[in-house]
Symmetry: C2
Subunit: 724 residues, 2 copies
């Protein structure tokens, strides 16, 4: 034997020894497992452990099934492979925590089945994706598989023989990782949430296999020659400039978030995207601590989770801005995972608060730590505060302002949207807002026209009404000029622009204010909006003051919609109801029925009922302004839309109109006591008292005779309130 062979043998031995020592080393770690095994589990951790045992024991009892891929989402093979990866990941954790061999054996046998199948697999037969997967219909799902399975592989790495590892890696895992990267550059090498999964999948499998070259590929992307042809694909991803990592995990981190952690597509998409970010980061932090991944870009991943958790109403449901199905919240597994990882990287109160709400932890050392922290903090009183998030990866593409007031029992929340377009999932809703009273949508955003995964409704995909209604400006609480959407509803134009914050001022504890402007949505029109969430003991709940001004170069028709979506109780105008007529032909108006019309005097007031509560809108008007009571649902040939009500305040042939509106949350009702409490508004009238270049002053007059003058500095948002 030659010397170099000896050296090789020694190196292999060292490697073997070293490797043997460093598994598990990704999410679970050797020392983490030791800590868990050596102490009494916190209660929540034990609950998760037992639940997981029951689930995996059932899967083991059912036997291993690795079917030849055939179906799309919802179909048998798809769902089977999906449960396989969940079960493998869980079994890996159980093997490490309990030491029971059956869990390791289950993973080994499963992986060997996949290894036997894989070499014969062509791309998925459905051929329905821009990036067709192998086991699934799209690479995205294959990446999901790999993110989970890499953890299982890491967990049983030392349980496998070198020969078994060689077989599994060479015949299956390495070619599979190549397939998701080298063979699908359009999928792997762009900045997009799908690709984040791809990067994390390949990267985590690289870590599990101790394959540093593969890891580099995951972190920094493929070195491609023909970048141009990838610059835009059919799903909105893109490649950024050359001066930064042009693709790969670091590029995702660099470009997916604003410096405040805001994710351009909004929280509905972010909650899904955060999982690969956080899980891969956790793995990197354990195995490559020298990367200091959680500190990277000024701790952007931690900020991103905070941003996500802040974009919620009082029931922890995400604001349904952009394309979003309402009801999604901090409770799915992806957010539980993000919170677990974030808490362990940075143990802050808001992560602990979220974890307590979630009531669930991961089966790893981090989850164990978090469970213990939950147990030992009996009365965590975390309260979400007013906060602004910049948009754009440089933080210069507008932003999202969140105003909060009230107490933890009944919090009012205003979401003010002056972001960029939000890529392909964005809506034409510049300067739009949502207003919540607890989790009641006082002024709603329609959300997406989609029933996610519900096959009956277009296979669970976006419905055509998403484009024709839900994205259109009139579907939002913001100004529509000449019955046309912002940017004419043209994505390529909208995508070039963003609104701009003017101020976000919380200096006055009684009146947090946000101001923003939009100069591109309509040619020749500058739109400004100021929103103030005002608290005064005179009112039972915070009051929203909304001032919208449009400076125009000529006369237009202006529609200000109020999406109250409740039951009208009373109003100060005489309306005439009618058999519904369709309000228009395009820009969303083709989906609106006109149900009643009225002419305004100098103030429009309407009181309505929703979720056992009473609300009142009071808005300044000019005599003769039109009031239209409308309802969604026209031209809806498949009953895809909800029949929600809205009010439209229309100014025809107006120049530079101003809209001053005040919304009160004033009353409640119980079906048990049948007693309404404060069913009527206290406000009598609202008016713009003064408006000049530097400030605007509103007068709010109540029925009791008093009034308040509320002056806002147009540059700083400083609010001064005088009671008369």
């Amino acid at each position: 034997m030659k010397a170099r062979n000896y050296i090789a043998l020694i190196l292999i031995s060292i490697c073997f020894f070293a490797c043997a020592q460093t598994h598990p080393s990704m999410i679970l770690t050797k020392s983490g497992v030791e800590t868990i095994r050596s102490q009494k589990n916190p209660l929540i951790f034990d609950e998760v452990l037992n639940k997981t045992r029951i689930q995996v024991d059932a899967a083991i009892a059912e036997g291993i099934v690795v079917p030849v891929p055939k179906d799309m989402g919802g179909g048998y093979t798809h769902e089977k492979h999906k449960s396989n990866y969940f079960n493998m990941q869980s079994a890996g954790a159980l093997y490490q925590i309990t030491g029971e061999e059956k869990y390791a054996l289950y993973i080994k046998n499963m992986l060997l089945e996949y290894t036997a199948l894989y070499p014969s697999l062509p791309p998925h037969p459905t051929n329905r994706s821009y990036a067709v997967g192998k086991i699934f219909w799209q690479c995205l799902n294959d990446a999901n598989w790999m993110v989970y399975t890499s953890q299982a592989y890491d967990a049983i790495y030392n349980y496998l023989t070198q020969e078994e590892r060689n077989t599994i890696e060479n015949d299956f895992l390495k070619p599979y990782a190549d397939y998701l990267s080298i063979e699908n550059p359009k999928y792997f090498n762009r900045v997009h949430n799908h690709s984040t999964w791809g990067n994390a999948a390949v990267g985590m499998m690289a870590l599990a296999m101790d394959d540093d070259a593969l890891l580099q590929r995951a972190l920094y992307g493929l070195d491609l020659k023909n970048v141009d042809e990838l610059a835009k694909d059919n799903d909105g991803g893109f490649i950024y400039e050359k001066d930064k990592a042009k693709a790969g995990f670091f590029a995702q981190i660099d470009y997916s978030f604003s410096p405040d952690g805001y994710y351009g597509e909004g929280p509905y998409y972010q909650r899904y995207a955060m999982l690969p970010f956080m899980v891969f980061a956790q793995a990197l932090n354990n195995k490559k601590p020298e990367l200091k991944i959680f500190e990277y870009r000024d701790s952007i991943l931690i900020k991103a989770v905070k941003s996500l958790l802040n974009q919620t109403n009082q029931s922890e449901e995400f604001f349904p801005i952009n394309d979003a199905q309402k009801g999604m919240s901090i409770y799915p597994n992806s957010v539980i995972t993000a919170v677990n990882v974030a808490y362990n990287a940075s143990p802050e109160a808001e992560f602990l608060f979220a974890a307590k709400k979630q009531g669930e932890v991961l089966l790893d050392q981090g989850g164990w730590n978090l469970a213990r922290a939950i147990e030992s903090s009996n009365s965590l009183d975390f309260e979400k505060k007013s906060i602004q998030f910049s948009d754009g990866y440089k933080g210069d593409e507008g932003g999202l302002g969140i105003l909060r007031a009230g107490n933890s029992d009944r919090q009012s929340t205003v979401v003010f949207k002056y972001t960029s377009q939000g890529l392909g999932h964005g809506h034409y809703d510049k300067l739009g807002y949502l207003f919540y009273d607890c989790s009641t949508e006082v002024m709603q955003d329609y959300g997406a026209a989609r029933w996610v995964n519900i096959d009956q409704k277009g296979g669970g995909r976006y419905l055509k009404e998403n484009k024709t209604w839900a994205k259109q400006t009139i579907a939002h609480n913001t100004l529509v000029v000449d019955q046309k959407s912002h940017f004419g509803g043209i994505y390529d134009v909208a995508n070039l622009h963003h609104s701009d914050p003017v101020f976000f001022n919380t200096n006055n504890p009684q009146a947090h204010a946000a101001g923003a402007k939009e100069v591109n949505a309509y040619e020749g029109i500058e739109m400004n909006r100021i929103l103030i969430l005002w608290e005064d003991d005179y009112f039972s709940n915070p009051v929203l003051i909304d001032y919208f001004s449009a400076d125009t170069d000529g006369a237009h028709s202006f529609d200000m919609p109020y999406h109250f979506a409740g039951q009208i109780m009373s109003q100060n105008f005489d309306y005439a109801t009618q058999v519904p007529t369709v309000m228009g032909y395009a820009h969303g108006y083709q989906h609106l029925y006109q149900e009643a019309t009225a002419k305004a005097e100098d103030v429009i007031q309407m009181n309505w009922f929703k979720d056992r509560k009473f609300y009142t809108l009071t808005t300044q008007s000019n005599a003769g302004d039109d009031i239209i009571l409308a309802r969604i649902g026209a031209n809806d040939p498949q009953f895809n839309l909800r029949r929600d009500a809205l009010l439209i305040h229309r100014k025809e042939g107006a120049t530079s109109p101003r809209f001053l509106s005040v919304i009160e949350n004033h009353g409640t009702y119980s079906y048990v006591s049948e007693r309404p409490i404060d069913p009527y508004s206290k406000i009598n009238k609202v008016a713009i008292l003064r408006d000049n270049n530097t400030s605007v002053t509103f007068r709010i007059q109540v029925k009791d005779g008093m009034s308040w003058d509320i002056e806002v500095d147009k540059a700083t948002g400083e609010v001064k309130i005088v009671k008369n």
Copy 2:
């Protein structure tokens, strides 16, 4: 001193001594108070005690205010007098339980204020009721006052001097009781829930004052000469035959309930009426045990409370049959009181179950006992069962059938209505049904068109749409012939008739069945309906089978409405949507918009989504039958109606039509996991296989190829099921 004077003196002394011993003696008793004081309170009792203390202490701190009556309900003087009687009753209980004099003093001073005011009071100045009160706008509220205050008076009876009692009784309480009885015979001397309050008020005050003559008046009514003029009043009460007590509390008991305890106006009205029944009965039971009031009429009061508690869905909300606001439940004080009294008279599992749900008890010995029972029964597993209630005081005026199946997590409930008209609050809904999945209304009853106590909506009273829509037949899940309501929608005709039960059969544990017929609703038409709640392991939840047959002497137009009130997901017919058109001019059709129409083949199938669950209707049809997708809301000039969706299956020019419909509760959806489970129906087709004089057989065929033949005996309701 003559002998007779001596005897009189002795008698007075005995009476004084005896009376001194027998207070409190109505709801609280001397021995009850001793029991409570001598033992440690159960937790729930202590909670109520503390809550009541806080409330009454605050009232005492505020001071006594007895304003001159002026306002109607909602107004200041009305609400003040109302809180006065609540606070006095609570203070009485506190005085007895805690022994603290301040509570007795509060009541004494309050009563002296009322006594000073009363002699100067004319009837209430509003003059808006058929029976104007003194302190309130109607005698009903005055009776409420007296029911509560009598308890307070009883509690401090021995605290007062004889002189104080004389003043209070002679200057105030006795004339007041006369006012509510002798001076308002039309109010006091009829069978009606308002009058039950009157009888209880006078009777309880009589007990508190030990005035036996007054008590007799309360129990047996006034002995009137001119009965005829009272035979019908403007609020639907009436006087019954001479052979029974013609008025008074016993007459209320005799005529208000069927022998099964069903209350003709339905549970929404019963829950309010039960309070005076049960509180007065409790007082009588304590003070006049020889009346054996709880055993009277075969324990009808106990049965009545059971009947009330059974008429609830899984969230303990009452079925909104007849005029009823949805959401009313077992949780208001009136039902808590009824349950407390009933449990102490007859400690049965269903009362304990209700009390545990309510989580609240009365501040008396009964409440104390109930609280202890709640504490010591850790896992009471009471389950509501299928049950039928006869209607009419003799039990021969139709009835209400309740079918239940499923488990306590997800129970299916069918409410089948073949009652009498239900007096002035009845709807034209013969053989109609409601179908619940948990508390989700799978097939809804609209309920009342009313916003109770909400001033904005017609002062909180019944709206005109209650008559023009909510009462009409098309607003219910039952057959409409020639687009006209049952009995032409004429109350005086409807009130003469009732439907008849044919069978109520729960012998087959897999298929409880109810059958009923109606021969008077339409001239020349006999209508029969059979409802079966069928359980089979093949289906995830119980399935409702609905067979409606009409035997006619000629051709008519038949509309079978399905009030699904959800979002249509898919269907087996091609429909064309349209701009809404109004469907008719009368009988409720003037409130319906036609949104889409279709022609049926041999089966109509529609799948919808509601409350995160999926449902499917499969109904047999003839090719060419019309399908109309409609929505409530036409001719609704004040937006009083909800915009709920329904499907109408129309057979034009048909003779003796049959409708066989099957409804599946089959799927669920989570906005967190975004995974639909069983979103599609399993059924392929339903058909009437055989139909003869003695039985009818339905075939239900599923997509998997199997079928079931379900044979029902038309006389007995015996169900035989054969699986093919």
